[in-house]
Amino acid sequence: MNNPILEIKHLRKTYGRLLALEDFSLQVNKGEVFGILGPNGSGKTTTLGILLDIIKCDSGQYSWFGSEPFSNQRLRIGALLEQPVFYPYLSAVKNLEIIADIKKVSYDQIDVQLEKVGLIDRKHSKFKTYSLGMKQKLAIAASMIGDPEVLILDEPTNGLDPKSIAEIRDMIIEIADRGITVLLASHLLDEVQKVCTHVAILNKGKLLHNGPVDEVLSSSAMLELRADDMVALKQQLQQLDFVDEVLEEGTIWIAKLNEEKDPATVSKLLAQQGIYLTHLAVRKKSLEKYFLELLSDNNA
């Protein structure tokens, strides 16, 4: 099951006196869609830059595909970092031909990839004549040249209109469905929540949390409960050791749990005490709440 594509150990990077990344360790396995979430300036791009050898780290190691990094490995990685970068005076096709030459692959895929992102009609137009959305789509097409095993995307929907955002997210999901490992940096929680299977939360160069998105979501689960006898229900809930707190919200109780519990177990325990629930639901905290909570804890 665990098939590490990428292992990062204790990366550290400073820019002058600014600490950009500190003791950053992470493992990404094959097939995962791994989100790196953090506010602007938290070290996301620095991390990805180090992994792509455009930034040199001060200390620490990383390995791609289980071996020491060297340039040929990047031929197996597609990448899009920050804004799309191409030769402005060259057409889309010429730009992609340069990338195909760098990646040592044939030009056959160029039209296929341009078709996928809907730029085939404009393939001979110069890059500088493209709109921002088109540039971003061309960058996605470019990152797919050479059938990469890993795709690295940094803020892929930055500055796009809602329609383009939706299109690019669909593209990422489609790419992930084909089994390509994706590393996605974003400051948009919603984006990570919609697209990723795993998430690492980064703030001020420090890794705050890392794990499957589902786990992050359920680890702070709350239960919504209602019974005919609300007072007795509250008393019983307060006696359960996995319940931290019981809050009132309208006509229901909200039980904050300190560990993950199967709702069936809770229901059974309560039934043993003679309380039959008329309403029981797991309320998942949105990643956003969790994210903000983590950040405020970290800042405090």
Binding site: G49, L52, D53, I54, I55, K56, F70, S71, N72, R74, L75, I77, A79, L81, V85, F86, Y87, P88, Y89, L90, S91, K94, E97, I98, I99, D101, I102, K103, K104
Partner: protein, 267 residues
């Protein structure tokens, strides 16, 4: 290596700036080759009328001396080739394409090599322009031609290549160092035209011959014409071997120091 040449050729083949600069160089250099004798003859006519000494007639374009003559006059225009290198190295930074190229899988060494090859091919093209211009002019101006005459001083072509290549590599280094085209062009031109001249004046001769631009221009000495011999001035009629070594050293130095510069830099 072919892959790197192919990649760089794609970058430039569709750039108007590249072709315009190359065309300017081509027109200028060909004009210099084809009209230098006419200009020189004007001076000679003038000299003949004012000096009692009989001035012998000679042609710049006769084999085998043509190679040294042309290489000497053409060498002054190597700065244009160096500027093309400088502009295209810095453009990789201003477009951020160096970052993208490395991300896409080029190693830093490969990127450097691609620019060294680019400089080499440009210098080679300049040398070929000299070669073909020389053939046309030489055959047109030499009465009796033999193979040994045509290729007699052909080693000046190699020196001409080394002269241009060394300056191009210096420009490449400045481009990688400063990354910004405007700044790089100004500082490079400042060093080339002013700074080294001052250095050469201050430093003793035994030291100044080792300066890069100095050694490049010392490679090919002033053509030694019959006229000058009359005045007992003797310039070297062969390629200066010590300067071949000094220029080669600078070429390797510029490549090496650029490598060190690139090895640990963040993009």
């Amino acid at each position: 290596m072919l892959r790197l040449i192919k990649i760089d050729f794609k970058k430039y083949a569709n750039s108007r700036t590249f072709w315009v600069l190359l065309l300017i160089y081509f027109v200028l250099i060909v004009a210099v080759f084809f009209f230098s004798e006419k200009v020189l003859n004007l001076f000679l006519e003038n000299a003949k009328s004012t000096t009692p000494v009989p001035v012998p007639n000679f042609s710049l374009y006769s084999f085998p001396h043509i190679w040294q003559n042309m290489a000497f006059f053409g060498g002054g225009f190597k700065i244009l080739i160096a500027l093309i290198v400088l502009i295209f190295v810095t453009s990789e930074f201003s477009y951020k394409t160096i970052r993208q190229n490395i991300m896409n899988g080029m190693s830093r060494e490969e990127f450097l090599l691609s620019k060294v090859l680019f400089s080499g091919l440009l210098s080679l093209s300049a040398t070929l322009i000299l070669f073909f211009s020389g053939l046309v002019l030489g055959f047109g101006h030499t009465n009796e031609v033999s193979i040994s005459m045509v290729f007699g001083k052909i080693d000046f072509l190699a020196a001409y290549f080394l002269e241009i290549f060394t300056l191009s590599l210096m420009a490449m280094f400045v481009g990688f160092l400063l990354r910004q085209s405007g700044l790089a062009i100004i500082l490079f031109a400042l060093y080339y035209i002013v700074l080294e001249t001052i250095l050469a004046a201050i430093l003793p001769d035994e030291v100044s011959i080792f300066l890069p631009v100095e050694s490049m221009s010392n490679l090919i000495d002033f053509p030694n014409s019959e006229l000058l011999k009359m005045f007992n001035v003797n310039f070297s009629e062969v390629v200066s071997v010590p300067d071949v070594f000094i220029c080669s050293f600078w070429s390797i130095f510029f490549i090496g120091i650029t490598y060190l510069l690139l090895r640990n830099r963040d993009f």
